[in-house]
């Protein structure tokens, strides 16, 4: 009995020794979440002013600019402030490289360029009347307050009106049998509030002319998102609006893909502090947001988004993976313009615009990124023998300001000048005879576009493959949906193509592995032979007994 006890006791002790630490090895339930929790409900939109009581707004406005004039009676600095922002200028200067970018100056691989197409494109300009390059950027009444501040949801701006809202009932899209009613501008003006998700989304969800088409991490499903789609915007949960993160001061909205804070360091920011990058995750979560030091260590190499946005376009809305303009002007079998959709009802082909490929639940493409992108601006030379990078993404493994970021890479095929070797500006939208979507003549469309862009056009065009890279930052998943370790720490993992980091499980020294396993194998063979010989010779003492 005693000897038995002697044997069981050590085993029990060994078990206890093994079991005890699991109590503290398993991360304890979060004692204090790093993101601040609301103790009492403070409605962020509660205002001290009821705009329906202002006599300045109690009149029948006929046009947008009339409303703006009324706004400016009280908000004396508002228009001047807006006129300093990208929402007005469509221009942005890189503080690091000095390059002047912005929608006005770059050629992307979606709709390409607004130049010569202002009447349509400026439906998303926070202003009225930008229809050509004679637009006066100093006129204050041309600032559109309502597109961002309307809370009725009735204020709509359609392509073709150079940024003016619908004033008269109009069929849209043409021939669809659907009509858009003009908004009651008095009601709209009296409804004024802080921008909601719908305000920002009226342009940003529909970039490139379709729901979700451009960004992949922004689409109309974010008007009423669930937790799965976005843990912060979850309508039944935190219910963030865009401006909760994109904190805004003097109408300057923080956070922009033109100037990405790619590697924010340090603790979470305190309220009231002047903040360089309030839109960054770290401004609330700090750069050490996890309970485990080993996980926090990852923030020195990875953007938060890399693990916490495991896929973008996480819904059936999807996003465009590619746009091939070279298929535009191809007509249907009857010789007339044709349109077709994919099985999810998303645009697939349009004689005006070419072909698209859509994707949903997209796995991002990862790359080192330091927040600086160098864009192809109008007139920049290209090498048509290679895929043209619309934006060259900066960053490298050794740069302390670079992180591994998830990106959407949008592949395009678009026209360029074969002699001058630059991407072309084309006149697509409009009713005149040079507009591509009216006359289906590339030669005329490029000619008119280049003339408006004040660039020589050789008369010879071709189509070149292009790529545009978008850092992914929205649609942050709940933590349980974040990437698991082995999605990167494995041979065929997400970060397979990322150089400059030693990733345990992905990386190993081939020679050491070969030598090590050879040695192990030799040892096994050795003991097997030795043991086999012992059995064979039959002289093993054990077998005699």
């Amino acid at each position: 009995m005693l000897s038995r006890l002697k044997f069981i006791l050590p085993l029990m002790a060994a078990g206890a020794l093994l079991a005890a630490p699991t109590a503290f090895a398993v991360p304890a339930a979060p004692a204090a979440a790093t993101a601040p929790q609301l103790e009492t409900i403070i409605k962020p939109k509660a205002s001290t002013a009821d705009h329906s009581k202002f006599k300045e707004l109690n009149r029948n406005f006929r046009t947008g600019p009339q409303v703006t004039e009324a706004c400016l009676i009280c908000h004396t600095e508002a228009a001047k402030q807006v006129q300093h922002t990208k929402h007005w200028t469509w221009e942005s200067t890189d503080p690091k490289t000095g390059q002047v970018r912005g929608k006005k100056n770059i050629i992307n691989n979606y709709c390409t360029s607004p130049v010569s197409n202002e009447k349509d494109c400026m439906a998303c300009h926070a202003g009225y009347g930008w229809k050509d390059d004679n637009f006066d950027f100093k006129v204050e009444k041309n600032v559109d307050c309502l597109i961002c501040h309307d809370q009725t949801g009735t204020y709509r701006k359609l392509p073709g009106d150079a940024g003016h809202p619908v004033y008269k009932r109009v069929e849209f899209p043409k021939g669809s049998g659907k009509f858009v009613e003009p908004a009651d501008l008095k009601k709209v003006a009296q409804s004024i509030g802080m921008p909601s998700r719908s305000n920002c989304g009226s342009c940003h969800f529909f970039g490139a002319g379709g729901n979700g088409a451009k960004h992949g991490d922004l689409d109309a499903s974010l008007q009423h998102p669930g937790k799965y789609l976005d843990v912060h915007m979850d309508e039944k949960g935190l219910n963030f609006t865009c401006t909760t993160c994109h904190a805004t001061s003097s109408h300057e909205v923080s956070g922009s893909r033109y100037n990405v804070a790619a590697a924010v360091k340090g603790p979470a920011h305190i309220r009231g502090k002047q903040d360089e990058s309030p839109a960054a995750c770290q401004s609330c979560h700090s750069d050490k947001p996890h309970h485990e030091a080993m996980l926090n260590q990852h923030t020195e190499k990875l953007a938060c988004q890399t693990c916490h946005i495991p896929e973008y376009a996480r819904n059936e809305v999807g996003t465009e993976a590619s746009w091939d303009w070279s298929q535009a002007t191809i007509m249907g079998p009857d010789g007339k313009p044709m349109v077709s959709k994919d099985s999810a009802g998303r645009r697939k082909f349009d004689s005006k615009k070419g072909t698209w490929v859509w994707d949903s639940y997209v796995i991002p493409e990862y790359r080192w990124y330091n927040g600086v992108s160098t864009y192809k601006v109008i007139g920049d030379k290209i090498d048509p023998s290679k895929t043209v990078q619309i934006n060259e993404v900066g960053g490298s493994p050794n740069d302390p300001d670079s992180r591994i970021w998830p990106t959407k890479v949008h592949r395009g095929k678009q026209p360029y000048d074969k002699v001058n070797n630059y991407l072309t500006v084309q006149h697509t939208a409009g009713e005149d005879h040079t507009a591509l979507w009216h006359n289906f003549d590339w030669q005329k469309a490029i000619g008119a576009g280049m003339k408006a862009a004040k660039l020589p056009y050789s008369g010879e065009y071709g189509f070149v493959d292009t790529e545009m890279t978008w850092p992914i930052t929205h649609m942050v998943a709940p933590k349980h949906d974040a990437l698991s370790c082995e999605q990167c720490h494995s041979k065929q993992g997400r970060l397979q193509g990322i150089a400059g980091v030693y990733l345990p499980s992905r990386d190993s020294n081939r020679w050491l592995d070969m030598a090590g396993w050879t040695l192990v194998l030799l040892s096994l063979i050795g003991v097997l032979i030795h043991g086999g010989l012992r059995i064979y010779t039959g002289k093993n003492k054990g077998q005699h007994k």
Partner: protein
């Protein structure tokens, strides 16, 4: 069993506890370690890392107690190497064992390990252990490198290389060690001794 003449008490309770918990931890660390290394998928990378880390701390704790035990009981002397009779042991394992020759070494409480065993354990202690623990602790505290300035002169790749090399040495030791347990007067005699503490002596 009944023919056994004599039994001697070789391994005390603590020694057996140390041996078997260490065996368990080393096996666990090899299984999880080679998974972290990427040799196969079993528990999942995250689980493997956590188990590996917990086992490392447990083993360190165990060693702290064991070192204390070695010195308070004077058992550390069991590891003093000696070249006497090493050649006899080598000859025994190479030839004698196949001819039913007697084992040239006779265990006593004062000398538990044969001369070859002493050399092997000393090599394990003085070479393999420092390689594994040295690199392992650097690996474990990777998140503190930056604060300590270690990242300026050391790369994770180098640490992982050394640690893996140590792991292969450990695995080879493990194979040989387990095989040699079968070379007692019965194939399981040594294991029984290690479990009960009692060695049967002819």
């Amino acid at each position: 069993m009944n023919t056994v003449n004599r039994r001697i008490y070789l391994y005390s309770r603590y020694e057996r506890f140390w041996h078997w918990s260490q065996a368990l931890l080393v096996i666990l660390m090899m299984i999880t370690g080679f998974e972290v290394h990427g040799s196969y998928k079993l528990l999942g990378f995250g689980n493997a890392v956590n188990l590996h880390t917990v086992s490392a701390w447990l083993l360190l704790t165990l060693w702290a107690f064991t070192i204390f035990w070695q010195f308070t009981t004077d058992e550390w002397r069991q590891y003093i190497p000696s070249l006497k009779k090493v050649d006899a042991m080598v000859r025994y394992y190479a030839f004698g064992i196949f001819r039913n020759a007697p084992n040239p070494f006779h265990k006593t409480a004062a000398k538990k390990h044969n001369p070859l065993q002493r050399l092997a354990y000393l090599a394990l202690l003085s070479m393999v252990s420092p390689v594994i623990w040295g690199s392992g602790l650097f690996y474990l505290f990777y998140s503190s490198w930056k604060g300590l300035g270690v990242d300026a002169w050391l790369s994770l790749e180098a640490v992982a290389f050394v640690h893996t090399a140590g792991a292969f040495m450990m695995l080879v030791f493990f194979i040989a060690h387990v095989y040699l347990t079968t070379t007692g007067h019965t194939p399981t005699a040594h294991i029984k001794t290690m479990v009960t503490g009692w060695e049967e002596v002819d």
